[in-house]
Subunit: 552 residues, 2 copies
């Protein structure tokens, strides 16, 4: 998620006791070290390859590095074998008569093969080019341990020696990444045998994505934007309950949002932790409403009823902006009635009447369910009934439609199904018909693909859900993903919502949910078997081994 | 001085007790803070101007800086009003909705207007481009005090905001340079009134150059090469005796060289302090010999006879390589007879027979004089006599000649005069005739201009010496120099021995000697009057005031 329409005129009504609670839940970050596994190069290939690049090992083993010397214009790529979030350091030594001039290096931290092969010049993007993952470093004295102060998100490290001098070259040794996450290497989770390598990999890549985004908050992406968004948080929390089960980090993030509630009761779309907790000016109507679902999911998963009570007033308020979009006579969501950006998906011409209608019902039902858990009266039975009846306007000829043009889209279908406003058989039929409709607008983001999958599971279409998981998320795995991406277009490796693929995030929270399905409602249909416990460190090491085995 | 021919086959014969002595003389560096004085810009001008650029003040005072905000592609120059060597820090703040992306800055540290106006792209140079004075800095969080770890040498700071984001801009405050030198701000020296602003400025710029080069050693230039060379040290020591009188730093440097004497008794042309004291592989025959003059000058100026005794064996050895170039029959220096680069000046086609002959006699005489001070027998009376007699081959038709082509050059003339091998009247006449000769090869470097001046003073041509000081060093002052440059061609501001002016050093030790002449043998002829004491801090502050007054 990048910049959204702002809604700056709504001041924050700080809830400082929630902020204190959130601060007390600040996780101790865990650190571990990883070293490069191979010196590699990528060469263009005509063979089927998503990136059009074939990785191959250098004739030099990575253990040769301390004895290899590099001068002006040297350029090589190190493969750490796994996606990491952390801090790079290395020992730089001069080799030759003397280090009689500084050494200037360009270091590029690659999440994808493009990052370390395209260069970082001439990037045309409407978001900041400051996100680009390269650094120029000048070193005056060797030998020296060069420890870069910034945190990076990468698997590949491209090293370019811009210059040394005619009198010396440099060698690199003791290269390591001090990895960091709220989840330690000895953190154990259930090992599930899916009896299928692709599903095994999809499950693993989901968990890696989740882990690398789990820092002092659930970040949307550790490369970009490195912060907490409501939409991402909801999906991360779901994946987390199925795997790593870190309830405190979810609780912290929930209370961070509740701490920065605005005077009208709405919640900002994202928050900043630094320099101190503060709300973004970004506001998204559907994210606001979904806060209620996050709280419901959290209380259900954790049993933390006390938190539910504390958050109840915030939950009640967060759907107000959505409710203000309802036509008071028809009880149909009419997007023009309320201010504020509605997201649903990045597709810019997606009609946003039907999907927000479904999404709001979905949220109101979660609030009603939360009320039951908390022993309160369910506040939204009446409006849910009216919106359920009203939802028939979105169903015509057995497909879901939205807006004045009767647009057919996966987005509308997913949320109307998830809202359970239609009888299961009708919903299932309309969903399948919509998904098969030749004009139906498809999702652009994994975020909406998640909701399509969730809707399919909701109506028992497990095979159809699995097909999407295998083709969409499996497509990323087959393209070489260690972590799931912010966006994926199987037909266009350079697709980007930002104008340039070099500003994409390749480890992005909102694509981490296949494990939620595979370990959840799909477990039986895929014959998944829990075989015991495994630590993150063991999972990581197996992944590194597999990565290297795949390398020619 | 940059890379020279190497002479790597001559191993070091460490004198560890000298190294210990040198280490004990490591100066405590003094620190003080300077802040920017103006926001300025340079615009091309047709008016007479060495750089072809007219500096002008921004409509914003530097005190406005904290309230000014800068976004993508912003570009401004800060003028600190004086050349400094030190560490930059500043507070960077974000202004706007939120700092939702890193900030990427390019900082360029300018010694000259070209540094902050030409950009640093496409530099073609045969020395390392790693010397270029720009840094790319990425900042993730604001507000933050950004303290750059490297030491820079600059008066101007160009700040380019490569990117922020559409959501925020940045502001700069608390910008300062933590200046550093072996010479403190309260270090006092004699104030001399020259009754002439140009001479006053030349004297001041000499001292500033010297001070900025005085770090843990006498550096050749604080931007480049940042290290100790014999040739530079000799001139710095002379200027130092006339001004700042830091004998310990000279002694330290002398013993550093003596510590790394080679097995054949010769001395490397330069040394490195980091990671530990070590000789460069660079070797220069004339630098080697001049070590004797440095020791003689030091013992004479300081009265440290004990050091003279300790260094005596090293002094005796350092002329051996030069002596091996003497024709055993004629006692004429024949450059081809000995291995090793002879420098004298950067002019590549300078014939190097006559000048090294004079230089060697000059050195042998210094050794004989040192012997007298130390109560030893003068070792080189015999060879001096023979070389004096032999020197007549270098005088023909009243001018000095050198080599098979009978080349006439300032270099040959300067060193033959300084050697005092001819009677004063003959030497004076030949020098003036050489300098007036239309074909005489002129110096390229301030280093050789120093020796021409020294020769003129030697034969009593004070006015001619003063003319050179006023036109050559005065030319730099009039071009806007705060410190004297590595090289200066009044006709070509972009002249460089390295192929690109952006790799030139604009604070360079070997050009710091006008103060040695002005406060020494020229003092009377320019009517200079010692008016009391002044501290370096007072001198600096006056200079800043004058710099700013000159700004439009």
């Amino acid at each position: 998620m990048a910049e959204q329409n702002s809604d700056q005129k709504n001041p924050t009504a700080w809830n400082r006791s929630f902020e204190i609670l959130a601060n007390e839940l600040l996780p101790v970050l865990h650190h571990w070290s990883r070293v490069p596994q191979k010196i590699i190069s990528f060469t263009p290939t005509q063979s089927p390859s998503f990136f059009g690049l074939r990785p191959s090992s250098s004739s030099h083993a990575v253990s040769d590095l301390p004895s290899l010397t590099w001068g002006k214009d040297a350029d090589f790529i190190l493969d750490f074998g796994i996606h990491m979030v952390g801090y790079l350091k290395f020992r730089l030594s001069s080799v030759g008569a003397h280090m009689d001039a500084p050494c200037r290096l360009r270091l590029t931290f690659g999440e994808s093969p493009f990052d370390v092969t395209m260069g970082m010049e001439g990037v045309k993007t409407w978001i900041s080019t400051s996100w680009l993952p390269d650094e120029i470093v000048n070193i005056d004295e060797c030998p020296q341990v060069v420890a870069l102060p910034r945190r990076y998100s990468f698997r590949y490290l491209r090293v370019q020696v811009i210059d040394t001098s005619p009198k010396y070259k440099v060698s690199f040794s003791e290269i390591s990444c001090e990895c960091v996450s709220a989840i330690a290497q000895d953190h154990a989770l259930e090992m599930v045998d899916f009896g299928n390598q692709l599903l095994q990999d999809i499950d693993h890549v989901s968990i890696s994505t989740l882990r690398d985004c789990m820092q002092t908050v659930f970040e949307d992406g550790p490369r970009r934007d490195r912060r907490l968004w409501i939409g991402d948080l909801r999906l991360q929390a779901l994946a987390n309950y199925s795997t790593l089960r870190d309830f405190n980090l979810v609780k912290r993030c929930i209370f961070q949002f509740a701490a920065v509630v605005r005077e009208d009761g709405s919640l900002p779309a994202c928050i900043f932790e630094k320099p101190s907790l503060s709300p973004s000016t970004d506001y998204i109507v559907d994210y606001d409403a979904l806060f209620s679902a996050i709280v419901y999911d959290y209380v259900s998963a954790s049993g933390d009823v006390e938190a539910g009570h504390a958050l109840w007033p915030t939950v009640l308020q967060c759907v107000k902006r959505s409710l203000s979009s309802l036509n008071p006579k028809t009880h149909v969501f009419e997007t023009e009635r309320s201010q504020g950006f509605k997201f649903i998906d990045w597709a810019s011409d997606l009609d946003k009447n039907a999907a927000p209608h479904g999404l709001l019902v979905y949220c109101l039902k979660r609030i009603n369910s939360l009320a039951q858990i908390l022993g309160k009266e369910a506040p939204y039975f009446g409006v849910v009934d009216k919106m359920t009846a009203a939802a028939t306007v979105f169903l015509r000829d057995g497909v879901f439609i939205s807006g004045p043009e009767s647009q057919i889209s996966y987005g509308s279908a997913a949320w109307l199904v998830l809202s359970e406003v239609f009888a299961p058989a009708i919903a299932r039929g309309a969903l399948i018909k919509t998904l098969n409709h030749p004009l139906a607008m498809k999702p652009l983001t994994p975020y909406l693909w998640h909701h399509v999958c969730d809707a399919l599971v909701q109506v028992g279409c497990y095979d159809e859900c699995l097909d999407i998981i295998k083709s969409y998320w499996g497509g990323m795995v087959e393209a070489g993903a260690d972590t799931f991406w912010e966006c994926f277009d199987a037909e266009d490796a350079k697709a980007s919502p930002y104008g340039d693929v070099r500003n994409n995030s390749f480890c992005h929270a909102w694509s981490c949910t296949p494990t939620y399905f595979l370990r959840g409602k799909l477990l039986q249909s895929v014959n998944g078997k829990v075989t015991g416990k495994v630590t993150m460190g063991e999972l990581d090491n197996r992944w590194v081994e597999r990565s290297l085995a795949q390398l020619s």
